[in-house]
Amino acid sequence: MTDVDVVGLGVWSESFSNWEEFCHVLSGGSAETGRTLKPQAIAPNERRRAPLSVKMAVEVMDQACRMAALEPATVATVFASALGDMHLTEYMCRTMADAPQAISPTRFHNSVHNAATGYWSIATQSHCPSSAVSGYSNSVSMAILDGAIQAVEEQIPVLVTVQEVATAPAFKSVYEWTQPFSAAMLLSPVGMCSSNIASLRLNASSNLVEPPQLEDIPGIDLSGNPAARLLPLLIAIAEQRNADVQLPLSRGSSLAISIDVGCQARQSES
């Protein structure tokens, strides 16, 4: 069993670009769409070099740290994505098939799975531990579990970021999702930070569970997007209701997550 506080949140998709807009969309409102993603956390020269996948991640990481009012250089990071930057993969594989000598060195070094956390660390001057992981369709559950355990074992806030870009053209015969999504959840050891938004209790077990059915969010279709498995948690927190969510972890294990939004009550008890 693992207990952590959620102290900051960040979200981005084509239909909402921050937590406030996400809550607004959930309650039936609409948000301005089609805006260019310009994460302020990275300097303009780095932003020019950074691919969309990096911008999506850095944007939500910055949002989560701001919400928590935590200095970014004091938090460890875990970035998770099933496929990484599929558009860069497509670019590289196409280049290998057509004219391999033409590969761009910048796009090559941007293709590492830890590109987003690399750019983030440069922008925030953080030397804290930083990981980039994948659990394919279980990337969300594995990243929350791995990040929460790190928070507890190392007594450090851990910024867990999950994201999946839109399926790149050549991969449309393999993967079904069409829209990009990224979200960040800043997990902190219980009681370490003053501003907790919710508490999570995680229980890993060998129970087998089906992935949850995603609730429809007006104006956006995130079905099939592996990162969208975080949505049941985000929606519960946005709607200020306690919830239990079960997610598969691996072929023979699953994660039960209890979300408690009554943080004030818990704090006053302790």
Binding site: M96, V112, N114, T124, G135, Y136, D146, I149, Y175, S250
Partner: protein, 395 residues
Amino acid sequence: MRLAIGAYTATSAAGVGLQALRDSIDNRQSGLRRNDLQNCDIDTWIGRVDGVEDVSLPSHLDHLFSRNNQLAWFGLQQDGLLQSIAQLADRVGPDRVGVIMGTSTSSIGRTEEAFTCLLPSGQIAEEFQQQEVHSLHSPGFFVAEATGLTGPAITISTACSSSAKVFASAYRWINHGLVDAVLVGGVDSLCMSILYGFHSLELVSPELCRPFDRRRNGINIGEGCGYALVAREDLLPDAQFALLGYGESVDAYHMSHPHPQGEGAVIAMDRALERSKLTADSIDYVNLHGTASQANDRTEAHALARRFTDKTLVSSTKAWTGHALGAAGILEAIITLEAMRSGINPGTLNCGQPDPELAFPVLTDNVSQPVRFGMTNSFGFGGNNASLIFGQMND
């Protein structure tokens, strides 16, 4: 907590299985060869594992076919590892054993192949529509399926520190009680995008790589695979070695250049020493990242000089294996364990003229001297660093 290290095995250009690796180290025999990869005209040397392309996967794993998974399967067959895994899983239950793999490029070689024969629509053809294989989690998924281990499974991909970091996550998972044991590993295989990518960064040497030599002019890329079964001490009473500490950090400097003063490297080594409750002087041997790139060797020597004295022997073994990228961490962890087992500290191969400009001297010939505490460094793109410290279990 000390994390007990049970069975382990390594497969690289320097040998398939531990005995072949030992022979290569003892005989100072490099596994590197002139680049003979098909369709790749880069003038360089590579560390290729013989026979990977002939490895056939069991039929229930056929849908996960890729060179990287062939190599992962090849590696699993060595040194009785599968039997050791099965014995431990029998005792604690397969759901109490996690899988943590490290990789840099996963099965991208298979994706590259898919792009040579796309459908007229421009999409990936049926033969290559392998959902898990194009994922970064391809190795973790494959190894879980291949071993029958059903605990939590994840793949870490932080470039060249990937399979060093698997030990840090395993330590936390076990200390936390999530699982009783973890199969950690790393696998990366030769592919076009890695060779041409590093070539575009002007990091690939046309000659045999020369770590820490004044004539060094770049890296040789290799492939490899390694595994270690790690667990709580009470579950592995025969274990000879333990992970005492790990340190993770980032440079916060540049995506593909290390910090000039080795800032992140020093932080990683300090964190590993702190967790192990050891001083730098008590470390007998350090297996370096030592890629033979100008920048890596200069900054790593800088970082070493800030902490170590000549009491500690240090060397790079990249000229045996090539730089196996995401598999380098575990391969070099195993080479460190082997030095602790045999007392043979491998002297840097191909370093005939040690660079006098470098801030720390490396061992250039094999030296027989007991290794009580061994350390290994792994540094990757994105400035991602990891250091590991191992000790003798009966210490």
